[in-house]
Symmetry: D2
Subunit: 349 residues, 4 copies
């Protein structure tokens, strides 16, 4: 019998991508979709590309309706999950794609989000190295009932830098990351700067100067990987593509570390991983090669002259950055094979 | 009587942009256009957008033909200018948009380009601060007869960081710059990775690890501005737009420097400039606002937590990054008002 | 002394493009810019690309303020011009970029727009053939004080088909036109379907089935050119580019007409025109070659098998399609050389 | 035991898309991939997005190597299939994505392609109506061993117009179709006009005037559907997107036919189809809603004033237009459920 699934916030981009992946998942069946403004409409009105689900109708985001499902995926705006999750039964598996349950430090929540703090949940990044690489976050996810999906930018930078931090081959302070991200990362918001006419042929940085909300989450992850005193200068750049993230992250080499040491650290971290793959020396990923896939591609080199490691990581912000990570974590929580229903291959060109 | 102009390498993107701007310049008249493979063709075959020049015919790139003009603009591949310029009369003003005459250090030329070194020319970046801001490069350009136009990425990063270096408010070592650039920066090359199908919806870093040829030129400029021991980690990222550069450059704050000191350094550097403009605190440029214009826009802030200044600079790689800089420098060399014939306003959306 | 100009509706795309062109016009000086929601803001807040006009401040769209200028350009939403123009002095030259004064037939206004009908003005398409080609609309514009600028789609299709209609070489009934148009044609509206995420990588038809408001205006023009019983199936397709129109228009060959007759009709129509150019047999325009230019490019051939003439016409919807046509008409009305201040060359790539 | 599959011409876009779909197909296993210039390279060198197949190595396109598989998909340039297929055993199922075996009329082959004519194969468009709708092409595909996959433009226009032709509610002569197509339709060719810099922000028609090679194949299909004397004016327009086709097709209403008759004809044609879906009156598809899916979406209306039916059809040129159609036909030939392994949902935004 299929596992019954509900998706709250189904009308947005994260919600739509959850539905696209869930529709192809052999164990899940989407029975409930909810929305706020679009409640009452057929799903086809907001996601005409989801032909196989076109008979679903959007219901209001009511915890009682969601609780009918075995698994609930939340794709709600930041600050909206907390109130809903408090009213869901404990035996329902809840996967929150929003930020409400990501940060372990209430002060960081206050500083970057504000409003009520709802506590941190089990963190949905299975490949995250913990404690210097002694283990990975995947182990914590088995049997979990409450999971917080990482921020998309966070995933790209964390996967890029954590191996070096865990292995001690790069300095955790004075990290610098500049990340190119497509417009779907900003959601379906009706903002003038997100119009095609404005974004086409133009790139622009935003949240410059360390104020992006994903910053404390990156620090939290890299500290969990083993870094003490992590500081990062993080700048996101909105570029004219719909999906995708390409993060360029740099760190100073730790003293006495060779380029071989560096490569070995990353190789060891991701050997055997299905969805996180290190490219050979001299190869660097393009974000387009991950479109539609739950795959993170990582390129790595050492700039000897600058004394810095440079890591380039690519993901699809809506898949490995959100919906794919959510389903991968749900698979783990439910004891299914981790890769069930998740595409490894991108849609290109 | 108009000043007679020749453009060598007219069939490429830099050549085409030179022609577009020269056609609107009130003092110049384009009489000679040359090309290599396309010699013999009408200009309209390679640049159908240049309607007013459609009766010109591409001639071979022969120094004797070029020497008929009062001013020669060279838009040739790297390594090709040297042989041509050696055969041009001294009284012809020659503006080289290639790299052959940019680097003052033969060892840097050898390391990053190779082949014969042809010596450095007067450098075509009028707004470049020199000697801690005591003067600007514009003064050196008056009356010049040989001018090397900067690399496009170089211009974006140099204009972004030089004020802080010159004023001593940022540390010159451990600079990090990640630069998003449109595909025209790679020229009209028939490379599979430059196809629309490949670039659309995808971002990718290249020349990662300090190996991009523009690196030593950036160092040269920032040292001229007053920095000692400049080192930079520079990563270019090719993004799906045709024109434009958005550079995110960061530097560690010098000890004891405040955010006010920082802003004052940049304000002082660019007060009164027509083509380089500092945006107010909290504002950051989009590359699209400079499309078609000879304008550099700069946004600036301090990330106190990371201890870094973050500068975002935007230019059109083909205008302020190449053809506009060439004409601005030519205006100065010839004693014309510096802004003659150069658009300050972008074409948007 | 410069001619004083006001632009109403300056915060939209048509308004912005008027300002870009006016700023480069040697006879005009923009003194007044007005807006509705954005009144009170500096122009740089809505058009950061217009650096040379950044000190202007948007005022409310008040006829008394506009009347201070010698020339008033209106770039208001359809239905909004009428109320403003009724209160402007007769001796002010008023150029309306909206639809309010385009249609001569009140019934067509009612059927396609509705609301108060304000009467037709002198029509701002100088190259429009009249009466079988006996004359062109340019003659009517000399000395005009009230001018209605054509719709952008209308201009592309009219310029494409009018020569054949005027010369009688094509049948005026059963015309078919399918037109690809960039998103700026839909304005700066906050509509979900205009988001970059939605438009990128997708094409979609709209106003299908003869219901687009530009339909009666096309018919009106082609009838003025000499056609009786004009009927057209017109379908616009929104495509992922910011600017530009590419219209593919077809008509049945009139009996006994040869391909040579066809080409001669178009050649005769546009010989000597600065801004409308017929390409040689076998050449067809790309919309990108007209970006930023006041140029219409036309390609033409006969499909003998289908018995149809096929005309491909390209313009920049914001320039020859709106702002450029407005200024070209204003030049004529004021007795200035028709091409004053208008770029013939596109910005490419 | 999985069915063994070979893909010839695996390095191009059609080959890559075949591999993406085949990798997710539950019954097929890709064992052989071949190429011409890229033989000897790992598949990851040409398709870095196909992570699950990265250990495959491209072999030369040798019939003996291909013949090891149970099913051979050919994605070779036009004119190249014939020589290969002549040397494949009869009991191997061969699916040709090229044009070599599509046309039943040798004269049409000569006129539009030229070179040796290799005969027509079973035509891989299961939903094609035959004989006035008495049957569909799917029936002919069961048990087939040689299948010719339709041209991508052909599929979009055929699916759009065939229901009306078959039902006799539209006139088969004087059809007009204008089709917007993404750049992957032109393949991975190193042509200057296919560069991102050239295609971005620009639309252009090509093969204008009835000379596109897909024209006779459209006529062949519509005549098979029941039309006598089919003539069509067909113009393809290359637009700035990587994938997708949006065809706008029009036909004159047959005498005495009502809008209700029209809709009923299309509804009857596609009722129960999984991959071809008619949208409700007033809804028209966007090509982006079919990206990555084997889905054709069709919008339909009547323009009473013009006396024409207007049909808008959207497909992904690489999926329903090529690779998806190939696999759907292979499923039918092999007696598998027709939809096996084929996505119905698009990847959006």
């Amino acid at each position: 019998m299929p596992i019954s699934v509900a998706v709250a916030g189904a009308s947005g981009y994260a919600g739509g991508e959850l539905l696209r992946l869930l529709a192809a998942h052999p164990e899940f069946e989407v029975n409930v979709v909810t929305a706020h403004q679009n409640a009452g409409q057929p799903l086809s009105a907001v996601h005409p590309h989801l032909r196989s689900l076109r008979d679903l109708v959007l219901q209001p985001t009511d915890p009682a309706i969601l609780a009918e499902a075995d698994v609930v995926f939340l794709a709600l705006p930041h600050g909206a999950s907390g109130a809903v999750t408090a009213r869901l039964p404990e035996d329902v598996l809840v996967i929150d794609c929003g930020a409400d349950h990501r940060l372990t430090d209430p002060a960081a929540w206050d500083a970057f989000y504000g409003g009520d703090y709802h506590g941190a949940w089990n963190y949905g990044l299975p490949e995250l190295l913990l404690d210097g690489g002694a283990t990975k976050q995947r182990e914590n996810l088995v049997g979990a009932t409450r999971i917080a999906v990482p921020g998309c930018n966070v995933t790209a930078i964390t996967l890029g830098l954590a191996p070096g931090i865990a292995a001690g081959v790069i300095e955790p302070n004075d990290l610098v990351a500049v990340l190119a991200v497509g417009t779907s990362g900003a959601g379906k918001s009706l903002r003038a700067d997100l119009l095609f006419s404005e974004q086409s042929g133009s790139a622009g940085a935003y949240a410059v100067g360390g104020v992006h909300r994903h910053t404390p989450e990156i620090v939290q992850n890299l500290q969990a990987a083993g870094g003490a005193g992590v500081t990062i200068s993080f700048t996101p750049v909105l570029i004219p593509m719909s999906r995708g993230i390409l993060a360029t992250s740099t760190a100073r080499l730790a003293p006495g570390v060779s380029a071989t040491d560096v490569r070995e650290a990353w190789e060891a971290a991701y050997a055997g991983e299905t969805f996180v793959q290190l490219l050979p020396e001299g190869s660097f990923p393009r974000s387009g090669d991950t479109t539609g896939a739950n795959t993170a591609l990582i390129g790595l080199t050492v700039d000897e002259n600058a004394g810095r490691v440079v890591v380039v990581s690519a993901i699809d912000n809506l898949v490995k950055g959100t919906a794919g990570a959510a389903i991968q974590s749900a698979n783990l929580a439910l004891g299914l094979p981790e890769a069930t229903g998740l595409p490894q291959n991108g849609v290109a060109p």
